[in-house]
Structures are given as C-alpha cells and as structure tokens.
Amino acid sequence: MRQLYFLFIGIFFGIIMFKSEAASWFRIYEMFQFKSFHMYGIIGSALFFGVIIIQVIKRLKLKSAFGETIQIPNKEKSVSRYILGGTLFGLGWGLAGACPGPMFTLIGAGFIPILVVIFFALIGTWVYGLFVKKLPH
C-alpha cells in the first residue's frame, strides 16, 4: 500500500513536469537565453512555497504519516564538489535539455531518443562512482 503512494506521487510529478513544459528542451534553451520568465517562475514559486513548507515542518516538528518526526538532512559541507559537479551538470543540462526528473517523463511522453540520454547518464553516474576517491570534493 505504501508503495502505491509513491507510484501516485510519481505519476502526479510526471504530469506536472510534462504539462508545465519543464520537460521541454526548448524551455531549458530559452531559460539560458533569458528570453522567457517561465522556468524562473516555476523554480522561484516552487522555492517560495518550499521554504515556507520546510520552515513550518521544522518549527512545528511535524510528524510524517507514519508517526516519525520528519528528518531533513543537511548537505555535506564543501565548495569545490558543488561548483565543479554543478558546472558539469549544467553543461549537460544545457546540451541535452533534460535533468533527471524530466528524463523519465519524456520516456512516457514517447520521445524515444531520451533513452540514449538516460543510458549515458547511467554511464556518467557509474564513471563518477569509479573515480569518486580521486576527484576533489
């Protein structure tokens, strides 16, 4: 039963990614060209509500549906891994025009070549895993 909740949240998320056009290569291109407010509006309004939601959860020490206190882990401290990793991610985002969430949505929407992007995203993840100890973090 619990598993079904996650499936439904995913379906809802996929519909949002598709219908808000956040999964469109064109929207990502236009965002980096600063020709449209659309993507900035999506990320900005998600953040506006996101900050409020997390502050409320933390201050009121809200419990999850299963009775545990909701844990929101802090991210590991560093600068280099975020700037370097982020920049590499951004180069890929600007080229393939899809980040990991929309990649899944685009399979369902029938854009078969996205499978090439996903396959190489898996290779990229694997190569990172191979070199994780050698990279500056």
């Binding site: 956040a22 975020y82 369902g108 929407a109 990172y128």
Partner: protein, 185 residues
C-alpha cells in the same frame, strides 16, 4: 476545466512541485530524482566494480516507484491531458533556433532534429545526446544532487551548498548555451 488541456503556467507548475516535495517529506522521504541513476547502476551490478554502488538498493525502491510513476505521468500528460503540445516560444528564440537549423522550434514539444527516431541516424545527434546525458549523470552525482535535490529541496532548506551547486548549474548551462551549443548543430 478547459485550462488543464492547455500548457500550465509557471504559477501552477511551481507550487505543485513544492507540493510534491511536501508529499514526499510527509511520507518520510526526501525529494531527489538523480539518486535513481545511482540505484539503477547498483541494480545493474555496479556494486561489484566499486563500493560507491555497494548498498541495498531495496532501501531506494520508493524512489524508483516515483521515477516509474513519472514515466506514466508523461504518458498521461501527452495522451489524456493535452490538446496541443507545441511550446510557445519567444520569437527571438524561434529565429535563433531556425538559424541553427532547428526548424521545429515553436511547433513542437521537443526539437525533432534531436528527439525523433530519424534524428538518431545522425552521428552528431548521437554525440549531443550521449555527451549531454553523460555530463548530467556524472555532474549530478559529483554535486550530490540535481535540480530537484539542490534547486528545490536544498534551497528550500536554505542550504548554502545547494546555492553553490545551482550557481554551478548556471555557469555550465550558460557556457553550453551561449558558447558551445552552436558547434553541436
């Protein structure tokens, strides 16, 4: 209800993404899609090659279900919830893309020159898609998250390091978009 079948404006999409993040927190989980790429590597046996993938993937089953749901959601979006899927772009964007020979700009959801089956026979397209995918996968794990993990979850939780990651996303994205992308077309 007519609006459902039109493209959703940002002030619908953005708050709904925050709501997805809330639903996952309410179920005791954290919103982050790129973790699924690591889990899929583990399922494919990557744990044998390096310890980074040596973990019990069943603990991430919930997230794979979210990803599987996102596939179904994409199908529902295109088949049941859309009358036209062409993305309305700024005229300047359309002109610019036409110069790069992306003629489908303004008339399609994804550029046919990159995301149609015929396009796959073009080696340049294959390089674009595979290099893009590789960088997204490698970069997301290196940065410890992607757009959902950092730009939404991390920034919502006021994590300074997520701001560094998002600054990185834009350094890379802008460099690709303005200086490198023309060489791929």
């Amino acid at each position: 209800m007519e609006w459902i079948f039109k493209p959703w404006p940002w002030y619908i999409g953005g708050p709904l993404i925050a709501f997805v993040m809330f639903l996952l927190l309410f179920l005791g989980k954290n919103f982050g899609m790129s973790s699924n790429l690591r889990t899929l590597c583990t399922i494919c046996g990557a744990g044998k090659s390096t310890r980074f993938f040596d973990f019990d993937w069943k603990t991430q089953q919930w997230n794979l279900l979210v990803a599987f749901g996102a596939i179904i959601g994409g199908w529902i979006g295109v088949n049941w919830l859309s009358d036209s899927i062409a993305v309305q772009l700024h005229p300047d964007t359309i002109n610019q893309l036409h110069q790069f020979n992306i003629k489908s700009a303004g008339e399609a959801y994804m550029p046919e020159e990159l995301f149609s089956l015929q396009a796959l026979s073009n080696p340049k397209v294959l390089i674009t898609l595979s290099l893009g995918g590789f960088l997204v996968g490698f970069g997301a794990r290196y940065a410890g998250g992607c757009t959902s993990g950092h730009a939404i979850s991390g920034l919502s939780n006021l994590q300074l390091v997520s701001l560094y990651a998002v600054i990185g996303f834009f350094i890379g994205g802008l460099a690709m978009n303005h200086f490198l992308l023309p060489y791929f077309f």
